[in-house]
C-alpha cells in the first residue's frame, strides 16, 4: 500500500462545492442565451386533436415555438439495449418522439416547446398554448397492461408486451422440484415504482456555432459520450466530431441521468433553428413526470425447501413495467441486471425466472440505484426469511445452511450460477457473522422477547446480498443485447514538468473521482497527489467513455487508467535506463524514481518526463512524449456482497416504524478511500430504507400521478434515520488490477429487505408474514389488524 491508497484522503472537489463555486448546468449563462418551457400533457393517454400556438406566438419575448408537426417531430430517441422475446420475436421498440405529434402516451409528455428571451416569458407564453385533447383510457399497472382488453400504449402491436423473456433452468424441471419440495413459500407483491430524485433537476443548454458548424450541449448527464453517440448517430444524424457534450458538475444521478432524454436532442436541434443558445431546467414537478423512474415490478414467486431448510428450487414470474417508451437501458434492468442475480449467495440448484415487460401509460422506467439487483435481492431476502418464518427456523440459520462456501477466485475457481454468471470471489458467511456480532444477535433476541411481554414490538431483519457491478466484457454484453461496449477509457498525460493530467470516461456526480482517482494515480507513480489532475465530463477533452453507473467507475475506469500508467512506467523505464546508462532490467521504480538496483544511482519521474519532451539525449528509436491512452474491457463483472441488518420498533397503536439501528457489512473488494466508500454506503442505505418505509410513485387508474411533489412523495429526512453502522470484510476482486468491486449501489441493494424483514419480524408473533412496501404506518397497522 502506498501513501494515498487505502487512506481517507479528504476530497479535493469539496472546496468549490462548499464555497458555492460549483458549476452545475443551470449555473451557466451563455451570451444571447434563450430560455424554454414545455407544454406537457395533463393526461396519460390522449389523442392530440389540435395545438393552437397563435396566442402564444404573440406573447412578449417569444423567440420560437415548436410542436410535433415541426421537423423535430420526426426524430425519435432510441433504446440502447435489445432484449428479444424468448420465442425469438424481436423486441418491440416504439419510436420515442422529441415532441408528441398525434398521441400522448404518458402524463407529462411534451407537446410544445416555447422559447423566449427570459424564463418568465417562456412560462407565460407556454400558458397561452391551447391544446385540444381527447382523453383515452389508460393503463398504469404492468400486470393489468397484459390483461385482455387493456388499452394499448402503441397501436403497432396487438399487446402491450415489449418482450417476454426467461432465464435459468427448464421451467418444467423447476416446477417438478417444487412439487416434491418439503415446504414451498409463496410471495406476491409489487416492488413499487420510485422516483430517483437527484437533488439537482435535469438541466440542458444547447449552443450552435455557425462558424464551425459545431454544436455544444451542456447537460447534467452521467454519461456524456453515450449521449453524444446516441444523439448524433441515432437521433439527429449529426457528425460526432461536430458535437461536444459538456457535463461538469452534476448534482447526483442515481441512474436517472444516465439516459439520453428527448429534451437533450430537442434543444440541440432548436439551437440551430433559432441560431441562439437555448436553456431548459426541469422543475421538480416536471422531474416527477419526466425523469425515468425505477423498479415497478409485479412479482409472483415460489421457493421450495427441503426439511433442513436447504433451497431446492425457485420459480418466479414477473411483470416489469417499461413505461410508455423504452428508455436507454430499460430492457436490461429486469433481465440481465436482475435475473442473473437470482442465485443470490445461495446454492439453489434450480432457478427459473420469467419476465414479461409491458408498456404502460407512465413515464419510462429505467435503472435506478442498483437497477434490477435491488429487486432480485428484495425477492430472495424476503422469501428466504419468510420461508424460515413458516418453517420455524432462525433467519440467520437458514442463510448459513444455504450459503455458497467461500472462494477467492484465484486458488478456488469462481462460482458458476444457474443463471449465467460466474461470481469472481466471495465469503458470504464471514459478512453475516460479522454483522451478527456487531448487533449482538443473541442478546437482541432476548431483549425482543422481553419487550414483547411489555407489548413493545421490536424486530430484526437480515439481508445477505450479492450484486454484479461493472458489467462486462463487451462481447458478452453485446451478445445479451447491449448496443454499446462496456469498456472504459483512461488517458494519462504526463506533462513535461512531471505533472500529470488524467482523462477518464467515467463521470463523477458526487462519487469523488477527482480525489480517489488521483489517490491511486499518485501512488502508482509515486508522486504527490497535488501533481495529478483528473479530468472528466467533456467529450472534447476525453477521448471516449461509457460514463458512470452500475458501480463501475473504479473497477472499469480505474483499471483503464492503471493500464495507461503501466505503459507510462514501461516507457519511462526505457528513458531512465538510457539516462542512467543501465539496463532496464536492472532498474526498479519506487517513490517516484528509477533506481539502479543495489546502488544510489537514480533518476526522478520529473526528469524522465522532461527528457521525454526534450529528447536531446534520448533512446534511439523511441518516440518522444509521455502520454498513453488505454481501453479496458473487463473479463467479468465484479461481485460485491455483504450483510445488512436492521433493528426496528413498531408502534403497536399506530403502525409507525422507527428504524433504531442499521448495520451494514459490505465487501466491496479492496478499498481506495474508506471515507468515500462509507459515504457511498450511507447514501445507498438511506435510499434503500426510503424504498422500504417511505417512497412510492403512485398513479391513479386514469394515469394521474398522486405523488407528484415533496408534499406527497416521501423521502428520508434527517430525522427518519439513525447513524448507520458500517463494517467491511475484504475479498479482493481477482480479475482487475486494483482488486476493487464497486460500492455505489451496495447500500441500496442490501438495505431494503433488511428493513422489511425487521418489521415483519417485529410482528411475526401476530401472524404477519408479509407487508407491501412502502411500509407506511397505515399499511403496517392494517397488516396488524388482519
Amino acid at each position: 500500500m502506498g501513501e494515498f491508497i487505502g487512506k481517507s484522503v479528504k476530497r479535493r472537489e469539496d472546496a468549490r462545492f462548499l464555497k458555492g463555486m460549483g458549476k452545475y448546468t443551470d449555473d451557466i449563462k451563455l451570451p444571447k442565451m434563450t430560455h424554454s418551457a414545455f407544454v406537457r400533457s395533463p393526461y396519460a393517454h390522449a389523442k392530440i386533436e389540435n395545438v393552437d400556438i397563435s396566442e402564444a406566438e404573440k406573447a412578449d419575448g417569444v423567440v420560437a415555438i415548436f410542436t410535433g408537426k415541426d421537423a423535430c417531430g420526426e426524430y425519435g430517441v432510441p433504446c440502447g439495449w435489445q432484449v428479444d422475446f424468448k420465442n425469438g420475436e424481436t423486441m418491440r421498440e416504439p419510436k420515442h418522439p422529441l415532441l408528441a405529434k398525434d398521441k400522448i402516451r404518458h402524463l407529462g409528455e411534451a407537446v410544445t416547446i416555447v422559447i423566449a428571451e427570459t424564463l418568465e416569458q417562456a412560462r407565460d407564453a407556454a400558458e397561452l398554448v391551447e391544446v385540444d385533447y381527447e382523453e383515452l383510457p389508460a393503463v398504469t399497472d404492468p400486470k393489468k397492461a397484459m390483461e385482455e382488453g387493456a388499452p394499448l400504449v402503441h397501436d403497432d402491436w396487438d399487446s402491450n408486451a415489449a418482450f417476454d423473456w426467461c432465464i435459468g433452468n427448464d421451467r418444467a424441471e423447476v416446477e417438478a422440484a417444487l412439487e416434491k419440495a418439503h415446504h414451498v413459500t409463496e410471495m406476491e407483491y409489487r416492488n413499487q415504482r420510485l422516483a430517483p430524485n437527484a437533488m439537482e433537476p435535469r438541466s440542458y443548454i444547447a449552443d450552435y456555432d455557425v462558424n464551425g458548424d459545431k454544436y455544444t450541449l451542456y447537460t447534467s448527464t452521467q454519461n456524456p459520450h453515450l449521449i453524444r453517440l446516441l444523439m448524433c448517430a441515432f437521433v439527429l444524424g449529426l457528425p460526432e466530431h461536430k458535437v461536444r457534450i459538456v457535463s461538469k458538475d452534476v448534482g447526483g444521478g442515481f441512474g436517472s441521468k444516465i439516459y439520453h432524454y428527448t429534451e437533450e436532442a430537442l434543444l440541440t436541434w432548436a439551437a440551430k433553428e433559432i441560431g441562439r443558445p437555448v436553456k431548459w431546467t426541469s422543475d421538480r414537478s416536471e422531474a416527477f413526470l419526466t425523469d425515468a423512474h425505477g423498479r415497478d415490478h409485479v412479482v409472483k414467486s415460489r421457493m421450495g425447501f427441503d426439511k433442513d431448510g436447504k433451497i431446492v428450487a425457485h420459480l418466479t414470474d414477473e411483470y416489469c413495467g417499461m413505461g410508455a417508451y423504452l428508455s436507454t437501458f430499460a430492457p436490461a434492468v429486469p433481465t440481465y441486471l436482475h435475473g442473473t442475480l437470482f442465485q443470490g449467495v445461495y446454492t439453489t440448484p434450480l432457478i427459473h425466472l420469467n419476465v414479461i415487460a409491458p408498456f404502460t401509460h407512465t413515464v419510462p422506467v429505467d435503472a435506478y440505484r442498483g437497477a434490477g439487483r435491488p429487486e432480485a435481492t428484495y425477492l430472495l431476502e424476503r422469501i428466504i426469511s419468510k420461508g424460515a418464518q413458516e418453517m420455524g427456523m432462525d433467519a440467520a440459520e437458514i442463510r448459513y445452511k444455504n450459503f455458497i462456501p467461500p472462494f477467492d477466485g484465484v486458488e478456488e475457481a469462481g462460482y458458476q450460477t444457474q443463471v449465467a454468471l460466474q461470481y469472481d470471489s466471495g465469503n458470504y458467511e464471514a459478512a453475516l457473522k460479522k454483522g451478527l456480532e456487531r448487533l449482538g444477535y443473541d442478546d437482541f433476541r432476548k431483549e425482543q422477547s422481553e419487550a414483547r411481554k411489555n407489548g413493545r414490538l421490536l424486530g430484526v431483519g437480515i439481508s445477505t446480498y450479492i450484486e454484479g457491478c461493472g458489467i462486462a466484457p463487451s462481447a458478452v454484453v453485446g451478445a445479451l443485447g447491449a448496443r454499446a461496449g462496456l469498456y472504459e477509457v483512461g488517458q494519462v498525460r504526463v506533462q513535461p514538468t512531471g505533472k500529470v493530467s488524467v482523462f477518464t470516461g467515467a463521470h463523477s456526480h458526487g462519487q469523488g473521482h477527482e480525489t480517489v482517482f488521483a489517490q491511486f494515480v499518485a501512488d502508482k507513480l509515486g508522486i504527490d497527489m497535488a501533481d495529478v489532475e483528473i479530468e472528466h465530463g467533456d467529450t472534447d477533452q476525453v477521448a471516449f467513455g461509457m460514463g458512470t453507473y452500475g458501480s463501475r467507475s473504479l473497477a472499469v475506469g480505474g483499471s483503464a487508467i492503471i493500464k495507461s500508467i503501466d505503459k507510462i512506467l514501461e516507457k519511462g523505464a526505457k528513458i531512465a535506463a538510457h539516462k542512467l546508462e543501465a539496463a532496464e532490467d536492472d532498474l526498479e521504480y519506487a517513490s517516484g524514481k528509477w533506481t539502479v538496483k543495489g546502488t544510489d544511482k537514480s533518476v526522478s519521474f520529473g526528469d524522465v518526463a522532461l527528457t521525454a519532451y526534450v529528447p536531446h539525449n534520448y533512446p534511439e528509436g523511441l518516440e518522444p512524449g509521455l502520454d498513453f491512452s488505454s481501453f479496458y474491457d473487463p473479463s467479468n463483472f465484479t461481485y460485491p456482497f455483504g450483510t445488512h441488518i436492521a433493528v426496528v420498533e413498531v408502534d403497536a397503536d399506530t403502525g409507525a416504524v422507527e428504524l433504531q439501528r442499521f448495520i451494514a457489512v459490505d465487501d466491496v473488494g479492496n478499498i481506495m478511500n474508506p471515507m468515500i466508500v462509507e459515504g457511498q454506503i450511507h447514501g445507498g442505505v438511506a435510499q434503500g430504507v426510503g424504498q422500504a418505509l417511505l417512497e412510492e410513485v403512485a398513479y391513479d387508474e386514469a394515469g394521474q400521478m398522486i405523488t407528484g411533489s415533496y408534499m406527497d412523495y416521501a423521502m428520508p429526512r434527517a430525522d427518519d434515520l439513525p447513524m448507520i453502522e458500517t463494517e467491511n470484510t475484504v475479498t479482493p476482486c481477482p480479475h482487475n488490477p486494483l482488486g476493487v468491486k464497486g460500492a455505489g449501489e451496495a447500500g441500496a441493494i442490501g438495505s431494503t429487505p433488511a428493513v422489511v424483514n425487521a418489521v415483519v419480524d417485529a410482528l411475526a408473533h401476530l401472524g404477519v408474514t408479509d407487508i407491501q412496501m412502502p411500509l407506511k404506518p397505515q399499511t403496517v397497522w392494517k397488516a396488524m389488524q388482519n
Binding site: 395533463p42 400558458e127 416527477f288 386514469a702 400521478m705 398522486i706 405523488t707 407528484g708
Partner: protein, 149 residues
C-alpha cells in the same frame, strides 16, 4: 376520488327537485359558478371561479344532468377545464322524504382530476369536496329560507 355525503334540507322533495332543476338557482347556490348558459335541455355551459384557500382558478366547460327521475334523483355530470388541470365528475343525487317533513339528499360519485390539480392537490381534495358540498347545501338552505320568508 370518491365523493359521498348527505344533507337534510328543510323543504319537500318537490321543492328541492324544482330548485335543482332551475338553472338560475343552481347558478346562485353552486360555489364558484359565475355563469350557467343553457345549451340545450339539461346541458349547460358553465363558467366558474373556484377559490379554495391557496387555490384559485377559472374553469370553463360543461355541466349536464342525466338519468332524471322526477323528485327522486338524477346524475350530475361535470366536465370543467382550467390552466391548472381539469375536473370530470359524475355525481348521483337521490332525494328521499325525511320523517320531519324535509328532504334527505344523498350523493355519491367519483371525481377525476388531471394536471397540477391532481398531482398537487391530493392532501386536501377530500376536504375541498366536503367544504364545497357544505357550501352548496348551505346556500340551498338559505334559498329555501328566502322562499319561505
Amino acid at each position: 376520488m370518491k365523493i359521498k355525503g348527505n344533507y337534510k334540507l328543510p323543504a319537500s322533495r318537490s321543492v328541492v327537485w324544482d330548485m335543482v332543476m332551475d338553472p338560475e338557482i343552481l347558478e346562485r347556490v353552486t360555489p364558484g359558478i359565475k355563469e350557467l348558459k343553457e345549451l340545450s335541455q339539461d346541458q349547460y355551459e358553465a363558467v366558474s371561479e373556484v377559490r379554495v384557500g391557496p387555490v384559485k382558478g377559472n374553469f370553463t366547460g360543461k355541466l349536464s344532468i342525466k338519468d332524471k327521475t322526477e323528485e327522486e334523483g338524477c346524475t350530475l355530470v361535470i366536465d370543467q377545464k382550467s390552466k391548472m388541470g381539469n375536473v370530470v365528475a359524475e355525481i348521483v343525487m337521490n332525494l328521499a322524504s325525511s320523517d320531519e317533513g324535509g328532504t334527505d339528499v344523498t350523493y355519491t360519485g367519483e371525481a377525476k382530476m388531471s394536471g397540477t390539480l391532481a398531482s398537487m392537490g391530493q392532501r386536501i381534495m377530500s376536504g375541498v369536496v366536503s367544504t364545497l358540498s357544505k357550501q352548496f347545501f348551505k346556500s340551498m338552505e338559505e334559498e329555501i329560507d328566502k322562499r319561505s320568508a
